[in-house]
């Protein structure tokens, strides 16, 4: 009965909203195609390959791992964007550059710590010019120092920006705030470029590889990303569920007027939103560099649209949604390679963003936004 009911509901949905119906067909096709591909066969129709091909389990698993890792860091960075979007009610286009700022602060700290006593000029240690690339296994302490500095430093940056830009505009409409954030994004990005230059620097490189399965290896840096992001997400969960402030934030994310009426200190919640969102953005940026190995002044800006995709797919205002959306978008970005040429996988992630905004602007987990 359950199945019959959901089938009939599904049919009703497909009739009422043709977009959703088409989407369901496409998804079904992709899943079927993936299964056939894994079995290594190709189904032909009139001599044209209809579905199938070949794909080894190992490469599928490593794609999933890649997507998961990038997705976790993107999700972490997305939490801040999601919270400011719902609590302060504007799309913060400076969030990507906040991620960059956090990454630079953290990696400068890591680089300086790792090269203490080394025979290198300060400028070389500061600008990642010593040739030393850090791995979590070989340089654990510097990487931990960098992680902490990324979090704390980004909080300071974000609070300063709020003080100078957004606080004087409290109550302004969301488009004015959005435009102000574009100004912040430009100023921040090019200040970073002014200090660190516009080149791409290599800063991290894994020191150990663990072979999990044939064809599937994971590095120490990837493990560090996995461990840190999962523990931070658990931490955020506990914070939201167990503390008074966390509950207040969830209430605010749902409905600011309601929160004000019931007497939750709005100013404090707003500040805490920036603190938590900033810290997670900084850590997210730091971890993304740990995984990719390189850093440049505009990597966060380039990533911004992907973070937006994560937040919107997960549902604006939903913190768990941002995490899940991040992983989902990370997986799309990586798994799209099975069907699309390498130049277009990012386009697939953006297409998912557009489709979700058009068909279900409340996110795919829609409505259950509280947490």
């Amino acid at each position: 009965m359950g199945i019959a009911k959901s089938v009939s509901e599904g049919r009703q949905l497909a009739v009422e909203r043709p977009g959703v119906g088409v989407l369901a067909v496409v998804l079904l096709y992709l899943v079927a195609d993936l299964l056939v591909k894994l079995s290594g066969t190709t189904v032909l129709a009139f001599g044209v390959p209809l579905i199938g091909g070949s794909l080894s389990t190992g490469s599928l698993l490593s794609m999933i791992l890649d997507g998961l890792l990038v997705g976790l860091a993107v999700g972490l960075a997305g939490i801040g964007l999601s919270m400011t979007y719902s609590i302060l009610d504007f799309a913060n286009f400076a969030h990507g550059d906040t991620v960059t700022a956090g990454a630079f602060l953290g990696w400068v700290a890591a680089s300086l710590t790792a090269t203490i006593g080394a025979d290198a000029a300060l400028s070389e240690r500061f600008l990642f010019d010593t040739g030393r690339q850090l791995g979590a296994a070989s340089a654990l302490l510097p990487i931990l120092v960098g992680l902490v500095v990324a979090a704390i430093g980004t909080v300071a940056v974000v609070l300063l920006i709020d003080r100078l830009t957004y606080r004087p505009m409290r109550g302004a409409d969301n488009i004015s705030l959005l435009i102000a954030s574009i100004g912040v994004a430009l100023a921040l990005r090019y200040l970073i470029a002014f200090v660190f230059g516009t080149q791409t620097s290599g800063v991290a490189s894994s020191s150990v590889r663990f072979l999990i399965l044939p064809g599937l290896a994971v590095t120490d840096n990837e493990l560090a990303l996995l461990f840190v992001s999962v523990s931070l997400m658990v931490g955020v969960h506990l914070l939201l569920q167990r503390t008074k402030l966390g509950k207040a934030m969830r209430a605010m994310a749902d409905n600011e007027d309601l929160a004000r009426v019931t007497g939750i200190p709005t100013g404090r919640v707003v500040r805490f939103t920036w603190i938590l969102g900033g810290a997670l953005a900084g850590v997210g940026g730091y971890l993304l560099v740990l995984e990719s190995g390189t850093i440049s002044f505009n990597f966060g800006w380039i990533l911004l649209l992907l973070i937006f995709a994560a937040v919107i797919v997960g549902g604006i205002g939903s913190i768990y949604g941002a995490m899940a959306g991040g992983v989902l978008i990370g997986l799309v970005d990586s798994l799209a390679l099975i069907w699309l040429p390498s130049g277009l996988t990012r386009a697939a992630a953006f297409a998912v963003l557009i489709v979700v905004l058009l068909l279900r602007p409340s996110g795919i987990f829609g409505g259950v936004s509280t947490a």
Binding site: F90, A91, A121, L122, S123, F126, L127, L164, T165, P168, M169, A172, N174, I175, S176, L178, I179, A180, I182, G183, V184, A185, L186, A187, L188, R189, Y190, L191, A193, F194, V195, F196, G197, T198, L305, F308, A309, I312, P341, G343, L344, R346, A347, F350, A351, L353, I354, L357, L358, P361
Partner: protein, 428 residues
């Protein structure tokens, strides 16, 4: 200061076309003065070079701000996918006009059509892509529309960048985008250059006699050509918005529900405004990014979209006059001039250190030279910080833009009371 305010107040009462033209001429003079100050013997040619480059920028940005003003300033459609629509226009023009047998090795073949077919083709393509994007997206709230359009523009850029679209053959015709390398096509500047060296030879000779090089004459001529297009667009758009049509656009911006309640099918109006704007963006994409007859995907990153927004906000969105003034201010004073000044800033003999640490370090020894040299060497980076700060300042303190609040009613006729004979009450 008050004299300046006074002059500005007087300038504001001029007819808009005169105000705009006067402002652009004033900017030319500023650049000429800067060139004279730093140019030495080459001053005249340097000034011509400055003026030529800035005129191209003003013309291109003015077309783009006018287009954005129709969409956002009038209709409230928050389109931040401008780069994508520019790309559609530029690439369509390029594919239509690229030679059938490219002379350069690795060049992408095209349809070999003349520019007068290619440019309108690009406009139509941009308008069509705009309509396809608009149909589902225009019912979204403003910030969602923004994200959809910027995502679309990135998809467009990634697509033209894709190796698979670089060169394809359909129905015996080979064409493509050239992928990451880009595509060469009939250069719009070449058309102007041919005119200048042909019919305009006496002008070139005269310019050369005062030390201005022929390429700079072409530059200026091309820039002026763009300004003619700006003037035509300005005239057309003013007619478009000073009408019942423009009235409906404005009221959609203010409150779409009310507009619908007054019997206006707002979707139609929004799609029309969006398509017209996109067509203009497509044209600007081809003539600006493709002015030398070559485009590549890197020229269509979303950053250009935000510069256009900055220009429009500085000028004051909702006003066509403000759009052009904003484009001129942004490109000349914030974008172009700082970079030229930076190249010529006195550094008191210090050479620029390669990094910030070596620039700041000597401050301890009370030696500011290296830092000054470093700043001077990085002015083209710092100007973007300036642009960001100006944007924040304007949103916070002068949201109406340069011109301040202006009463520009959307109507095609004089709005004063029909007969001012009752009660002697006049409204002006």
């Amino acid at each position: 200061m008050s004299a300046l305010d006074d002059a500005w107040a007087r300038a504001e009462r001029l007819p808009d076309a005169v105000l705009v033209a006067g402002y652009i001429v004033a900017l030319w003079l500023v650049l000429a003065v800067v060139a004279a100050a730093v140019g030495g013997q080459q001053a005249t040619n340097l000034a011509a070079g400055f003026v030529g480059s800035v005129t191209l920028l003003i013309g291109a940005y003015a077309l783009l701000t006018l287009a954005l003003n129709l969409q956002w300033g009038y209709t409230g459609l928050f389109n931040i996918g401008i780069a994508g629509f520019m790309a559609v226009g530029a690439y369509t023009t390029a594919i239509l006009t690229a030679p059938v047998n490219p002379s350069t090795a690795g060049g992408v073949p095209g349809f070999g059509l003349p520019l007068w077919v290619g440019l309108p083709g690009g406009m139509v393509a941009a308008a069509v892509v705009g309509a396809v994007a608009a149909l589902p997206a225009l019912r979204l709230r403003a910030d969602y529309l923004a994200i959809v359009t910027v995502a679309l523009s990135e998809i467009i850029r990634l697509f033209v960048n894709w190796r698979g679209a670089a060169e394809v053959t359909y129905f015996g015709q080979t064409f493509g985008t050239g992928g990451a390398t880009g595509i060469g096509f009939k250069s719009p500047r070449r058309v102007v250059a041919d005119l200048v060296t042909g019919v305009g030879q006496p002008v070139v000779s005269a310019a050369q006699s005062v030390g201005v090089s022929a390429p700079n004459v072409v530059n200026i001529a091309y820039g002026l050509g763009l300004l003619v297009l700006v003037a035509a667009s300005f005239w057309l758009l003013n007619r478009l918005v000073e009408s019942p049509f423009g009235r409906v656009l404005k009221s959609i911006r203010e409150d779409e529900t009310v507009t619908q309640s007054l019997g206006k099918d707002t979707r139609l109006f929004k799609i029309k405004a969006f398509m017209i704007g996109c067509a203009l963006m497509g044209l600007a994409g081809a003539l600006f990014r493709g002015n030398a007859g070559y485009i590549s995907p890197a020229q269509f990153r979303p950053t250009v979209t935000f510069y256009i927004f900055a220009a429009l906000i500085i000028g004051g969105s909702g006003s066509n006059t403000g759009s052009i003034l904003g484009a001129a201010t942004f490109t000349a004073l914030l974008f172009y001039l700082p970079a030229r000044l930076g190249e010529n800033l006195p550094t008191f003999g210090a050479s620029s250190p390669g990094n910030i640490i070596d620039a700041v370090g000597p401050l301890g020894a009370l030696n500011p030279g290296p830092l000054v040299a470093y700043v001077a060497g990085n002015v083209s980076t710092l100007r973007f910080v300036l642009i960001g700060v100006v944007l924040i300042y304007i949103v916070q303190h002068r949201p109406q833009g340069l011109l301040g609040y202006r009463n520009e009613p959307a109507a095609s006729v004089d709005l004063s009371r029909p007969r001012a004979d009752d009660g002697g009450e006049t409204d002006e």
